[in-house]
Amino acid sequence: MGIILPILIFLYSPFKGVKAFDTPDDGGGSITIKWELLKEDSSVMRYDVYRYESLKDTGVLIGSVLRGSNTYQDIGTKDGKQYWYRVAAIYPDTVLFSNLSSPAVSKAQWFNSKTKASLFILLFFGIVLFWFTEEAKKGKRTYIRKIAGLEAVEEAVGRSTELGKPILFVPGIGLINDITTIAALSILKRVAKKAAEYESRVIVPNFDPIVMVAAQETVKEGYTESGRPDLYNENDVFFLTSDQFGYAAGVDGMMMREKPGAIFLQGTFYAEALILAETGHSVGAIQISGTTSVTQLPFFIAATDYTLIGEEMFAASAYLSKDPLMLGTIKGEDLTKLIFIIIIGIGVILETFGIHIISNWFSIF
């Protein structure tokens, strides 16, 4: 009876086509189960998936999916071991079992094929960057257009000093693993250096304790490089809170009390961006903002005097240091962008005329 029943189910059940296979592009320990949806799928309540470790096994329920779904991922498998699967369609009054799948074995892959496009772009971009870096090493000069927001750093610090007011640097609510925060710290170093030259005070309220430690080091280094380590006050670079609106309230309060002459809003910002920028505007400070949060850029453009738009933030350290190697990478970035623009332009024209060469080529990734 143990063998006859599965054979009878397989021959007479309308529920067939259950396939089990190793989940592609993963680190092992997972098998994907797929089945053809039943014609009367809308009457099914759910599908239960059973796993069998041998053909004599009675099966274990490993999970369920709602009607309309025909895939389940079993993430509890042992690599190299065979598993069989059966799916049960649960109706309000009856249960329909599928055939038993053919055996499947999970294993880890050595390459994630879904990342082909990323690998291709990374390799291409890497080669371009290093080519331009080598050119810079040979002494080839790189032209970089003027970035108004970065040019204004000195003006803002100078004006703040003239007014006898402190400078407020807000590094946003990003964490240290956020590349935008690191870009903001590069700008902070420049601001701190300038502030030390003018003997001005820089206040840096932080959202994250790790960013606070990094900001303290950055400001200290800026003051030291300007030859005024004595002016550095660790209490001016402090932790405020890790709550988004608590942080906004705290920084707003600081703006109202300290009335800074210059405000730098640099880093990752979300809904608090406009609250901060408008308060800064109301105290009459010169404001330089910069973020990679695309949704907040319009607010910064509307409310602050200068805005570093997205990639300009990443170019800031190269722009301010004028280091030829760093400028070389900016040149490489621009060339890659130009190539992308050309490909997109050609793609748009070809697609308009129904020629799919480029989209077909990209689909292989």
């Binding site: 971009f125 430690v213 738009i309 997205g310 990639e311 970035e333």
Partner: protein
Amino acid sequence: MKREVPLFITFITGILIIIALFIPHKPFGQLQTTFNDWLIIVGGFTMILGLDSLLLHNWEKIKRKKEGWLSAAFLIASFFITLFWGFGEGIFFHRNPFDASATFLRYFYTYIFVPLQSTMFSLLAFFIASAAYRAFRAKDPNSTLLLSAAALVMLGRVPGGQAVAPWIFAFVLLLLAYYFFNESKKTSGTQQTVYIILAIITLILIYPVFYILLHYLNGIADWIMNIPQMAAKRGIWIGISLGGIAMSLRIIFGIEKTYLR
């Protein structure tokens, strides 16, 4: 050594994370999760540093009676009340202070913390209005274009906007025609002819604009959001992605060192 060791750690960590993206096989596949776990653990410990900094900063304010010292005192008092209430609930009443039904969470979090957050968030409505007022002033062709696009999108998204928009735009065009006629009176020759032609064109445009907005305003608003707005956004995204990759490679290969001491 003070610079070399961090640069070496950054290089190794960066390369391993890149490899982990392409190789899911052990031991690489798990690396990102492992590193993230380490970050969380280190982050947890740095919270002590953060609290130390916060308390010291506010204590200094109280000590020197600086402006806003009362707020600083309130902050320190709130901090310790919260801390001891949490401990007290566990020690004296044997309740889990992190339980959603605990009095500490129920009263302090639900009735103080959440309303304060909502208050801050609600300020955004007023700030949007003041920022929009400054941004949407038609002082040059670009800002006029921005104002028109914004007006179309706003009216296309609000209830009843489609019924009101044709009248608003018709009225604006009428005012514009009046302005051109007025200007034509102040000038002469070719300039006068140009102003008169502009006024006539503006008057002619009233009916088609009225008709189009009456029937297609929602479609126009969707088109602005889905095509020009999205194109600009994607352009910025591509720039940010490439800039991010370039910056990461600069950091990994030690070209960018500004974040180090």
